[in-house]
């Protein structure tokens, strides 16, 4: 890695090496646009999630209006979380990490090949297109144009825009890798290349077969589960892991040990990730071998998860250094979340457990833990680490950052444990045919009530992050206007 400062660029043993400042300047605008918009979607998604959970305890809340019904708000909140926040932040994190890891600026006069200003305009337009697609897709669900396919509710034109935008951004990440100045590739780069290749494949296939030109519905179930499983495990998780692999050793000032473990974990994760979602159909209307494969994948998934954790948590660290650095703390918590998600996932894919809890809040707990914990926490780390470098100054308010960290962790822990417990209770009750369904609904009431509190905490956390980044970026504006002497 070309971390040592080098004046502009120089040629060393046949390689062009770039100053880190040149690299940061080249990705500054796209990355800031992606992160900034991701955070505003996160705030909106958190607000919608809160409204959705209030509706479960007071069905009449904001009722009687078509676009405020649970059936429209819940998918809106989920899609905003997936595409507005997580995928967008992953794109931002992916580009920044890739440029750093490859020691290459994005375009510009030093790129020696692909265009300069025009390329940057293209990437920036693509980020705008992404946000337009998310906005229009969300409004379409609101106005009653949802496709009705879980996680793919955006109408076909919005999902086509999203895919096009991704291709325009993602291709540069892959090309950066191809033209890297750093020689030997590291595992973080592999994860990024895999993630940037996988999203178009999985999103394109799933949209084509389920939304754009739906195939006979008897075949849709497995494809839908494959999409949900691999969107998390093969697009968002690899970016989160790339963040951990590239940032954690560097921030702790030490080296990654047992690199062969990282290689093996990478290939295992890729192999199992695609099958991981099939536990969503255990006992359902699909051939039994498919769900059996899902059970096996769900349990075996623990192996790469443990290998990655041993790898990364095994990086020698000084606790004083950890306490000082929020990116490090977010990354470590993200790894703990990943281990827990792996364990919950393995448990949930056992047929006897799945039979009871699959349609309860337990499944929701797993999904939320994936998105908010294993994926979002590492993305927060990249955000907190990258922005000061991109802006060239210390831009975060330590107080707000600390509050965001605590509120996020408490919110996630509370939400996930409530959903897990609530899911177990309703699952046990559902398995007993003598308990009436409405009775079960009333059992879940106290859990739904407490979930509202957890969602409120997460909303405050998102607002804190919003305030923090607004302050950081507005500070930049003020500094430019009135330079201090």
């Amino acid at each position: 890695m070309s971390d040592q400062p080098i004046p502009k660029h120089r040629v060393e043993s046949g390689r062009v090496l770039f100053d880190i400042k040149v690299i940061d300047a080249s990705v500054r605008l796209p990355v800031i646009i992606l992160f900034g918009n991701a955070i505003h979607w996160l705030v909106i998604a958190s607000l919608l999630s809160l409204i959705v959970s209030v509706k479960l305890i007071a069905p009449g809340f904001l009722g009687g209006v078509s676009f405020m019904t649970y059936g429209r708000l819940a998918p809106m909140a989920r899609d905003l979380m997936l595409y507005g926040w997580a995928s967008q932040a992953a794109l931002g994190a992916g580009i920044w990490l890739m440029a750093h890891l490859c020691g290459r600026p994005l375009g510009g006069e030093y790129s020696g090949g692909f265009g300069g200003a025009m390329l940057r305009t293209l990437v920036i337009s693509a980020t705008v297109l992404w946000n337009l697609a998310v906005l229009l897709g969300t409004l379409a669900i609101l106005a009653g144009y949802s496709s009705g396919v879980e996680w793919l509710e955006y109408p076909s034109w919005a999902s086509a825009m999203l895919l096009l935008s991704f291709l325009l951004i993602g291709i540069w990440a892959v090309l950066l890798f191809d033209r890297r100045s750093t020689g030997r590739a590291v595992v973080a780069q592999w994860y990024l290349v895999a993630a940037f290749c996988w999203f178009p494949w999985v999103y394109g296939t799933a949209n084509l077969l389920l939304v754009w030109k739906p195939i006979q519905a008897s075949a849709q179930g497995p494809i839908q589960s494959w999409y949900c499983g691999s969107l998390l495990a093969l697009w968002l998780l690899p970016v989160a892991l790339a963040s951990a692999y590239s940032l954690l050793p560097r921030l702790l000032g030490s080296q990654l040990k047992r690199r062969h473990l990282a290689t093996l974990a990478f290939w295992m994760l890729l192999l199992l990730g695609g099958w991981n979602g099939m536990d969503r159909l255990i006992g359902g209307p699909v051939p039994a071998w498919m769900t059996s494969a899902g059970v096996v994948a769900g349990v075996l998934f623990l192996i790469p998860v443990f290998m990655i954790s041993i790898n990364l948590l095994g990086v020698p660290r000084k606790e004083t250094l950890v306490a000082k650095s929020f990116p490090v703390r977010f990354l470590i918590m993200g790894l703990y979340a990943l281990i827990s998600v792996g364990l919950i996932g393995a448990l949930a894919s056992l047929p006897s457990v799945s039979g009871a809890v699959r349609f309860t809040a337990f499944t929701e707990a797993k999904t939320q833990f994936w998105i908010l914990g294993a994926i979002s926490l590492p993305l927060f780390a990249v955000l907190y680490e990258s922005l000061p470098q991109l802006l060239g100054r210390d831009c975060w308010s330590p107080v707000l950052t600390g509050r965001h960290y605590i509120l996020t962790l408490v919110g996630i822990a509370m939400l996930v444990s409530l959903l897990l417990l609530g899911g177990l209770f309703t699952g046990i009750a559902l398995a007993d045919p003598t308990v009436s369904f409405l009775n079960i609904t009333s059992y879940s009431y106290p859990f739904h009530l407490m979930e509202c509190v957890a969602q409120l905490l997460l909303l405050i956390a998102a607002l804190t992050l919003g305030a923090n980044i607004t302050r950081a970026l507005a500070g930049d504006y003020l500094l430019n206007k009135q330079p201090r002497k």
């Binding site: 429209r72 008897s218 075949a219 839908q224 192999l271 498919m290 039979g355």
Partner: protein, 212 residues
């Protein structure tokens, strides 16, 4: 693994495994299932949907019914299945969905499973009132009101045949009536058409404890 092409081919091959198993296989096999003839009256299983029911699927999709309702009867083990809860007479199989535009399998059961709601609740009037105000017919339900699928209008001459028979707080003002829109009627037609209770070769219906 340090050249892009080598890495990409490795990634491609690994990705291909799940794509072949979970996308290509279902598309080629499950996607080509055909209806089986109904020996009794010359029709076929699964039965075809009427025009209103086909339109009703769109309403089911856009209103997000799938957020709370599943449409699958699971076989959980040799002895236990969703049949025990009275949600159906046999487990659902892939062939059951071949008349649908989208397979609304669902992932949450905040409400009841709807695979056989047309058998369980065959009364259209009940469904309309339930959609208009769920807790009027289902005390304690957390289902939202879909009153936006209905019109409240002034009675012109004779009251409409379609007007809902509402009582108590739900009843409209004197001289007014609540009538379903086309969307509500289509949705109810679709709900009434939902049934997985016919015999299929891979899913026989048990009668009096013995497989047919």
């Amino acid at each position: 693994m340090h050249r892009l092409t080598t890495l990409l081919s490795g990634i491609f091959l690994v990705f291909l495994t799940s794509w072949l198993g979970l996308v290509a296989y279902p598309a080629l096999h499950l996607g080509r299932l055909t209806p089986v003839p109904d020996p009794d009256n010359g029709g076929s299983f699964p039965p075809t949907y009427g025009g209103q029911a086909i339109a009703g699927q769109r309403v089911y999709a856009t209103e997000g019914c799938i957020s709370c309702h599943s449409q699958q009867i699971r076989q959980l083990s040799i002895t236990t299945s969703d049949v025990d809860r009275g949600w159906g007479v046999r487990p659902s199989v892939a062939r059951d969905y071949l008349r649908d535009s989208t397979a609304f399998l669902g992932s949450r059961r905040l409400g009841q499973d709807l695979s056989n709601v047309g058998v369980r609740r065959p009364d259209a009037k009940w469904h309309l009132i339930h959609l208009y105000h769920p807790s009027a017919v289902c005390e304690g339900s957390v289902m939202p009101c879909f009153s936006h699928l209905f019109l409240i209008r002034k009675i012109q001459g004779q009251p409409s045949d379609e007007a809902l028979n509402l009582t108590g707080d739900d009843a409209p003002k004197e001289g007014y009536e609540v009538v379903p829109t086309a969307e509500a009627k289509n949705l109810v037609a679709y709900l009434l058409a939902l049934r997985h209770d016919y015999p299929l070769p891979e899913a026989p219906v048990k009668k009096n404890g013995a497989a047919k």
